[in-house]
Every structure is written in structure tokens, then in C-alpha cells.
């Protein structure tokens, strides 16, 4: 992407000043991020006493009756968590972005400021706010639903196995909808006005313009939003830990990889911490995230080749 005007100077041996510029960042990044990641992966291949275990720990995690149900439970829950973000957060973010980037719209900044506000707050705070609001003790949600005639539909969702995961996912959607909104807004604003104007002159309606012009042009951003959502969701921890506790209740129905990893490594209540199995859970999370990232890069690569042979 380097502009021709700023083509770097010709290849040469590494000048000493470059070493000075790069070294501090590389050292901190390597020591505190890359080495721990690699070492954690290495530990997942050994037993607690340091003997090579090959893939035994992974086999235990995926098949042993003591480990597998919780692992696959967290896996399924995490997929639901991600699906709700893809089906609710990102379409709503896109809708808001389309509305906010309409050429003539008063109050654009006010709307954007308000809608984005929850995103800058801590997940812990957001989790507690919703926990209080949904609590039957306070009764705010119940009262609000009664006011619009839906009182009969109120339930203490966070305590119910079926709805708890959906409600926790929606809390997260509520908090983070601002991110796809901003990313989609940026992409929509970069579409030249002339194209939209020309289509409108030809009689295209708002939906037609969106379907045939805007959506195809912002597809790269759709991909970026999807992969950011994926990585964020498969490593989420704070919200479930705050709202439902380390045991991700009721009956582990809101357990995600993040909380499962936490319990496995550090232990929780009666369960003892297990560094080796912790490293193994982290290893599985690493493989899943890597799989998603590779899928994204592969897709992005192909699209670029199609558009720009």
C-alpha cells in the first residue's frame, strides 16, 4: 500500500538506528505475548510432571467424561453467543450506520454519541446495570413491560437455563453495537456521493441503492466486522463472569470458552486449578480463533483477486 512517492530507500544492511527503533517494541511483544503463547501451547503437549504427552491432553479434553461435556457445552454456547452477535448486533449496526450516513440528517452527532456511549464503558459495569434492571427484586423491567401490556411475558431470564444465554448475548450486543455502526459508517461515507446521486436520478429507491450499490461496496468491512466479532466473542469472559459468576449458571448454560478456561486454569470453588488442562483449553481456543482468522484471510484474498485480477 506504500505510495510510489514514499517508496522506501533501497535495500541495505540493517542500520544501527533501526535496531534501536525496533528493539524495545519487539522485546516487550516477544517476551510478554509471543513467548507465553508458544510456551502455553508447548505445555498443552506435556503432562503435569513434564513428560511428553503428545495430543493426550487434547484427547482428554474432547472425549473424557470429566472434561468433554463442559468443553462441548462451552463450544455450543459460544457458537450461539457468536450467532446472536452476527444476527442482531451487526445488522442493527449496519441499519444505524445507513441511517446516520444519510446526506441530510439533523442531529447526526447527537445520535451517534448516545448510541456509542455504552461501548466505552466497562463490560463489568454494563453487566451489573443489566443484572439490576432485569432483577425481579428491583422490578424495573417487569414494570416497563407491564406499562406496554407485556407484563405477562416477564420472567427472571437470567435464572432460567434456556433464556439466560440469549439474554447475556443481547446485553453484549447492546453494549457493542456501536462498533459495527462506526465501522460501517466509515465505509459508507467513503462511497462517492456521485454514484448514489446517479442511481437516485435513475429512479432507484433507498432499498435498491442499498442492495445494489452500498452493500457490495462495503463488503470488505462486512468481513472485517465479522472477524472482529468472531475473535472478540470466542475470547469473551468479563460479562458472563460478572453477571452469572465463574460457574456461568444456571447449570453452566452461559458457559463460554473464557469462563471455562478461567475455571480450568485457576479452579473455582471445589474444582482445583489445573495449568496443563488450562493450557490445553487455551490451545483449543487458539486453534478455533486461528481457523476463523484463516477463513477470513482466505475469503478476503479471493475477493481481492476477483475484483482486481
Amino acid at each position: 500500500m506504500a505510495a510510489p512517492a514514499s517508496a522506501p530507500r533501497t535495500r541495505r544492511r540493517i542500520p544501527w538506528s533501526v535496531v534501536g527503533f525496533l528493539a524495545p517494541a519487539l522485546v516487550i511483544y516477544t517476551v510478554f505475548m509471543v513467548l507465553p503463547l508458544l510456551d502455553s501451547l508447548r505445555r498443552s503437549l506435556f503432562t503435569a510432571s513434564g513428560e511428553l504427552a503428545g495430543l493426550d491432553n487434547y484427547v482428554t479434553l474432547l472425549t473424557d467424561p470429566d472434561w468433554a461435556p463442559r468443553f462441548w457445552g462451552a463450544f455450543a454456547n459460544n457458537i450461539v453467543f457468536f450467532a446472536i452477535h452476527m444476527l442482531v448486533q451487526n445488522p442493527v449496526g449496519l441499519l444505524l450506520a445507513v441511517l446516520l450516513t444519510t446526506r441530510v440528517l439533523r442531529g447526526r452527532t447527537v445520535y451517534r454519541t448516545l448510541i456509542f456511549a455504552p461501548t466505552v464503558l466497562s463490560v463489568v459495569i454494563i453487566g451489573f446495570i443489566w443484572k439490576l434492571i432485569l432483577s425481579p427484586l428491583w422490578g424495573v423491567m417487569e414494570g416497563a413491560m407491564e406499562a406496554v401490556g407485556l407484563g405477562d411475558f416477564y420472567l427472571p431470564w437470567l435464572g432460567l437455563q434456556g433464556p439466560a444465554l440469549i439474554v447475556v448475548s443481547l446485553m453484549s450486543v447492546w453494549q457493542f453495537v456501536g462498533i459495527p455502526m462506526l465501522l460501517f459508517s466509515a465505509a459508507l461515507l467513503s462511497i462517492p456521493d456521485e454514484i448514489i446521486e446517479a442511481a437516485r436520478t435513475d429512479g432507484a429507491g433507498a432499498w435498491r441503492i442499498f442492495r445494489s450499490i452500498q452493500l457490495p461496496l462495503i463488503l470488505p468491512t462486512v468481513g472485517i466486522v465479522a472477524i472482529l466479532t468472531f475473535v472478540g466473542n470466542f475470547n469473551a469472559f468479563d460479562l458472563v463472569y460478572t453477571v452469572q459468576g465463574g460457574l456461568a449458571g444456571p447449570e453452566f448454560s452461559t458457559d463460554l470458552f473464557g469462563t471455562y478456561f478461567f475455571r480450568t486454569f485457576f479452579g473455582f470453588q471445589l474444582q482445583l486449578g489445573d495449568p496443563v488442562m488450562g493450557a490445553t483449553v487455551a490451545g483449543m481456543m487458539f486453534l478455533i480463533i486461528l481457523f476463523g482468522v484463516c477463513l477470513y484471510l482466505f475469503g478476503a484474498q479471493r475477493r481481492l483477486q476477483r475484483v482486481d485480477p
Partner: protein
């Protein structure tokens, strides 16, 4: 464009529909936050009986805030958060800009590989290395130290910082640098000059770095529970005082305020930072 005048007055049916949706969603986004803040200033009974009312002369109280003053260590937690976030920001911006400068302005053996090596960290969460990273922090005597958190967040923040800043530095015309070098500028002078030109990008990186560090629960919880940040401290306080509604609502409000104030004051930078500078 036909209808522009109507749109501007906000009376055409389409515009009215758009405003209705946006007002509706803005309400959904802000009402829960407002509800907490409003009720934190009310007596216990009105919190339950009239949760939607603003505090009046009769229902107003600061009881929750007094409990915080007595029992919570909010001042210390806030201080810890400021030190950790400030330290991480400083290191990410300084070291990230230096590395980005080297990668963007020089071509040398392995510069592309180094760029890729750093870029991997954008997508892989540092949490996955927790098992080993805790051992490293222990070995260095950095557990329960704010410095340990700063180093972890710096390592996690550098990849994106280098990526964003090096893209920006590449756009700075070569002629500027050549002119400065003719005038006798050394590498550090050129670096300082380019950094000055990149202030918008630095602001964007600062925002992208600050939000997750300030709000993080994981690393304070696992690596430094002895020196709680505001996020960890509030999390524990809230769990402990569940039945004292005044204190809980006041704690939530106090924990929200620093970020909300920053957000309102630097709203433009927040939005621009997250939109990648696309919004003028």
C-alpha cells in the same frame, strides 16, 4: 435534490421514520445508564417504588456515596487505573511509533517478516497465553504490580499501534525527510518530525489502546488482584454489597464517570479513532 428542503426541516415521511428509529435506539442505548445514575441519588424506598422518577427534594440522598467513601477504596482503585492506563498508553504510543517508523521508512532484510510477525498479535488475544505469562510475571517479581499490568497491556497494544501508525507514516512524503536530512537532521530528528505530522493517527491509536485497557477485568483479576484497578475493584465491591442498593448504584455511577467524561470531552477523537480517520 428534490425533497432536500423537507428533509432539512425533518418533516418528510422518510426523514420522520429515520428520526423515529434513531431516537428509539438512542433511548435504548442510554436509558439503562441514565436509570442507574438517577436512582443513585435517591432514598432506598423510592428506588423501588418510583424507579423512573427523577430525585426530588424529599427523595434525594447521598447515602450510597457516603458508604463508598467509608468502605470502598475507590480513590486508590482510580489511581491504579490511571497509572496502568497512562503507563500503557505512553509505552504503546512511544515504542509503537518508533517501531512503525523503522518499518515504514526503512527497507532492510526481514522488514516485511517483522511487520507480519507484529501483525499476528492484532488477531490473537493475549489471554490465551495466560498460563505461561503468569509464570513469567512471577519470575520477574511482577505479579500484584501495576508495572506487570503495564507490560502486558503494552505487549497486547503494540501490534495494532504499529500497524496503524506505519500505514500512516508511509504516507508522509519522502521529500520532507530528504529536505530535513539535507539540513543535517539525524534519524531521531526525522522521527520527531514525522510523529508531529501523525498526531491524528496517534490520537486514534491512543483511543483504541485506552478503552480495552481501562475496562479490562481479566488481567487485574488473574495477575494483580492485590492492586485492584477501578474495574476489578468495582466488580468485587458490587458482588459484596449486592443488598445495599444505594451503595451499588453509587458505585456503578462512580465507576462510569471517568470514562463518560472522557468520552463526552473527546467525543470527536473517539469517533474518529474508531472510524479509522474516515470521518472528517
Amino acid at each position: 435534490m428534490a425533497g432536500t428542503r423537507q428533509d432539512r426541516l425533518g418533516i418528510s415521511p422518510t426523514a420522520a421514520g429515520k428520526h423515529a428509529i434513531l431516537i428509539g435506539y438512542s433511548f435504548i442505548a442510554i436509558a439503562p445508564v441514565a436509570l442507574i445514575i438517577i436512582n443513585s441519588f435517591k432514598e432506598r424506598m423510592p428506588i423501588f417504588k418510583q424507579p423512573l422518577d427523577l430525585p426530588t427534594a424529599e427523595t434525594f440522598t447521598l447515602a450510597g456515596y457516603e458508604t463508598l467513601g467509608k468502605r470502598g477504596d475507590f480513590g486508590a482503585w482510580l489511581g491504579n487505573s490511571v497509572l496502568v492506563t497512562g503507563g500503557s498508553l505512553l509505552l504503546v504510543l512511544l515504542l509503537g511509533a518508533m517501531a512503525a517508523f523503522a518499518l515504514a521508512r526503512y527497507r532492510f532484510m526481514g522488514s516485511r517478516v517483522l511487520g507480519l510477525y507484529l501483525a499476528i498479535g492484532i488477531m490473537i488475544p493475549i489471554r490465551l497465553g495466560t498460563v505461561s505469562l503468569l509464570g513469567i510475571l512471577q519470575g520477574l517479581g511482577l505479579t500484584n504490580q501495576l508495572a506487570g499490568l503495564v507490560l502486558v497491556y503494552t505487549a497486547a497494544g503494540l501490534p495494532l499501534a504499529v500497524f496503524v501508525l506505519s500505514a500512516f507514516f508511509r504516507e508522509v512524503p519522502r521529500d520532507l525527510e530528504d529536505a530535513a536530512r539535507v539540513d543535517g537532521a539525524n534519524d531521531w530528528h526525522v522521527f520527531a518530525m514525522i510523529v508531529r505530522l501523525a498526531r491524528p493517527a496517534l490520537a486514534a491509536v491512543a483511543i483504541l489502546t485506552m478503552i480495552p485497557v481501562w475496562n479490562d477485568l481479566w488481567w487485574p483479576l488473574v495477575a494483580a488482584p492485590g492492586v485492584p484497578t477501578l474495574t476489578l475493584g468495582s466488580q468485587q465491591f458490587l458482588g459484596q454489597f449486592v443488598s445495599d442498593w444505594n451503595a451499588v448504584l453509587a458505585a456503578l455511577t462512580v465507576a462510569m464517570i471517568p470514562m463518560l467524561v472522557l468520552y463526552v470531552v473527546f467525543n470527536r477523537q473517539f469517533v474518529r479513532g474508531l472510524m479509522g480517520g474516515a470521518l472528517k
